[in-house]
């Protein structure tokens, strides 16, 4: 039995067999072919045909738009220009593997040169190149494993393209060698309630088929555990399953109410949120309505989509975030400029203000949905940096008939002036993922700086404290809707800093509710002070772990 440690996401426990996602294939050597050009070309013909056939089979299974995308990929494998280039390289003495690798690389480089918006095609070609070379070598391509039995997925890291193909119902837990709490893998795992341990370099050594116990709460993975350890883990899993069914409003041990709300991306999540006992919605992301379209949807279509969510929460609060485009989710009709640093560019309220008709339509649709439903609708603007932006958005929302309007605080400038911002709006909601990225000057999409992306960092907590203090002084609600709220111990610290509501992915609610119930407000404030006094994120975490609640 070996115990490995990484960064845990969630609190779940899982036991099961490991299925590894193969690592990328090594670059084929540049040695000359010993088979001769004709034999190498024959191998290429077979490998490319087999690769295209695999993709077309997947296209048939996927159907619809996804199927069309896969069909286009099959055409890329079968491309005449690609084939001519491969043959030319083989005629010059290259092996089939190297010729395929180099021919794809030419196109990959060309597409990279066209800019960020071709990134999707670059990933496609990298994948196709790997698949074709795997066929030549007769090995499994580095793709998501396909297994009928539930399994623990072990990978170096997962790309969105991988997880799109993943049958999530068979994944018991996810372990990755790279990544941090804010990467794609962690967010997906949190949303689906799958226990995950990320950023664990030792994951590379776990053998395919080995049994592991994954404990997301401690970030530990036990490889080849004893029968007793497996039995104990299974008992914990069963206990968690029953406990997750308990519900009730979130509160501290002394009765202080801390409403627990759900983050939603569309009407699809409503049922799960209600089942998890969410007391409303703390973050309703509206991008889903816009991302797949080339122009903004009509007021009528938007109203229907908003109503679908509002209808699930009669008498409860639903906080709707105005369209948050830019950076990781570009929308051509809002901002099609190429930006060197999209995270620091025309995004959030900045792009909405530049395209006010789109914002007006959205707020109008939302006000109509508000008037036709019993939910208590709050609306907020993303990425507020200044008091002026706050005044602008709040005024516009009220003008268009919305009852409650507030702002998201994700920019340190807004956190530092929270007293002046809250003075001119109804509430604030803190987006901890972006607040951490901007505080630490570390791109949340960039693996090499992932270690900076930790909301436990005292610098981030200090900014949260500024907002909490301003909210308390002005009697204005301050919520948190970033991933930080889903970390039970950090949730306690946030409450201690003056946060009044917590919003998270639905599966995280039960654990946060349990942890809050162990602490009094005085205890939470003490925990917050201890965390603030630490010199780094690990220190803050350790200081709170050492405390005895109650």
């Amino acid at each position: 039995m070996t115990t490995l440690t990484g960064i845990g996401v969630g609190r779940g426990v899982a036991v099961g067999p490991v299925r590894r996602m193969a690592d990328p294939l090594p670059e084929p050597p540049t040695t000359s072919s010993t088979l001769g050009p004709d034999a190498e070309k024959e191998r290429v013909t077979h490998a490319l045909a087999a690769t295209a056939e695999d993709i077309l089979a997947r296209a048939g299974k996927a159907g619809g738009k996804a199927g069309e995308v896969l069909e286009a990929q099959a055409m890329m494998v079968d491309d005449p220009t690609l084939r001519t280039d491969i043959d030319t390289r083989i005629d010059k003495g290259a092996t089939a593997e190297r010729a395929v690798y180099d021919a794809f690389a030419v196109f990959i480089e060309m597409l990279k040169g066209l800019g960020e918006y071709m990134q999707g095609r670059v990933s496609d070609l990298e994948d196709l190149s790997q698949r074709s070379i795997a066929k030549l070598l007769g090995v499994a391509p580095p793709a998501v494993p396909d297994s009928d039995e539930p399994f623990v997925l072990v990978a170096r890291d997962l790309a969105p393209a991988d997880t799109a193909l993943l049958d999530i119902t068979r994944v018991l837990a996810i372990i990755t060698a790279e990544g941090s709490k804010s990467t794609h893998t962690a967010i997906l795992a949190g949303e689906k309630g799958i226990p995950a341990v990320v950023g664990m370099p030792d994951a590379a050594g776990i053998a395919d088929g080995a049994t592991v116990i994954v404990d997301a709460g401690t970030g530990q993975v036990e490889v080849d555990p004893s029968a007793d350890a497996v039995a104990a883990a299974e008992k914990r899993i069963a206990e968690r399953a029953t406990r997750a069914q308990t519900s009730g409003p979130g509160a501290l041990a002394d009765g202080t109410a801390v409403p627990l709300l759900a983050n939603l991306g569309s009407a699809k999540g409503v049922e799960a949120a209600v089942e998890a006992g969410a007391e409303g919605v703390g973050l309703f992301r509206t991008e889903f309505l816009f991302l797949d379209s080339t122009s903004a949807p009509t007021v009528e279509a938007q109203k229907a989509a908003y109503s679908a969510v509002l209808a699930g929460f009669p008498g409860k609060k639903v906080v709707v975030r105005a369209l948050d485009a830019g950076a990781d989710k570009p929308l051509a009709f809002l901002n099609d400029a190429e930006e060197e640093n999209p995270a620091l560019g025309l995004r959030g309220i900045r792009s909405l203000r530049a395209s006010e008709p789109i914002l007006r339509d959205q707020l109008t649709a939302l006000a109509q949905a508000q008037n036709e439903n019993e939910a208590d609708v709050w609306v907020m603007a993303p990425m507020i940096a200044t008091v002026d932006e706050t005044r602008y958005f709040t005024g516009l929302a009220k003008e268009l008939g919305l009852k409650t309007a507030g702002v998201m605080i994700e920019v340190p400038a807004a956190a530092l002036l929270a007293d002046r911002i809250l003075a001119v709006t109804d509430f604030a909601s803190i987006g901890t993922n972006d607040l951490t990225q901007y505080t630490m000057a570390a791109d949340r999409m960039l693996g090499s700086v992932a270690s900076f992306q930790d909301p436990w960092h005292p610098a981030v907590l200090k900014l949260v404290g500024e907002i909490g203090t301003a909210g308390t002084a002005l009697s204005k609600p301050v919520g948190v809707c970033g991933e930080a709220a889903a970390d039970p111990k950090l949730a306690v610290v946030l409450v201690g800093l003056g946060v009044t509501t917590l919003s998270m992915s639905a599966p995280a609610i039960a654990d946060v509710r349990d942890e809050l119930a162990r602490w009094t407000l005085a205890g939470a404030r003490d925990a917050a002070q201890k965390a603030l006094a630490a010199e780094d994120a690990a220190g803050a975490r350790a200081a709170v772990d050492a405390l005895d609640p109650a």
Partner: protein, 87 residues
């Protein structure tokens, strides 16, 4: 030799699905067609070639074809480029 200058209507340019449609049509025509943007010319039946031109909405491209059926092939491709497939 026949030539056509066409302004691309597809609001997403010729990146993925519209590029697939375009190259399929070119391949089916049985005529050797090339497409040129700026100073690069590629085989119109090569999806990788077409994608690598990075053709955007409102870009001007030059289609060239030779031999029997050239005019018909260019008619079909021109019509395709003038349709907004993303609308």
């Amino acid at each position: 030799m026949s030539e056509r200058t066409v302004v691309v209507a597809s609001s997403h340019g010729l990146h993925a699905r519209p590029a697939a449609l375009f190259t399929q049509t070119a391949a089916k025509s049985g005529v050797a067609v090339t497409i040129k943007k700026g100073d690069r010319t590629v085989d119109a039946s090569s999806i990788l070639g077409v994608i690598s031109l990075g053709i955007d909405h409102d870009d001007e491209v030059l289609l060239t074809a030779e031999g029997e059926g050239a005019e018909e092939a260019l008619d079909a491709l021109e019509a395709l480029l003038q349709t907004d497939h993303d609308a």
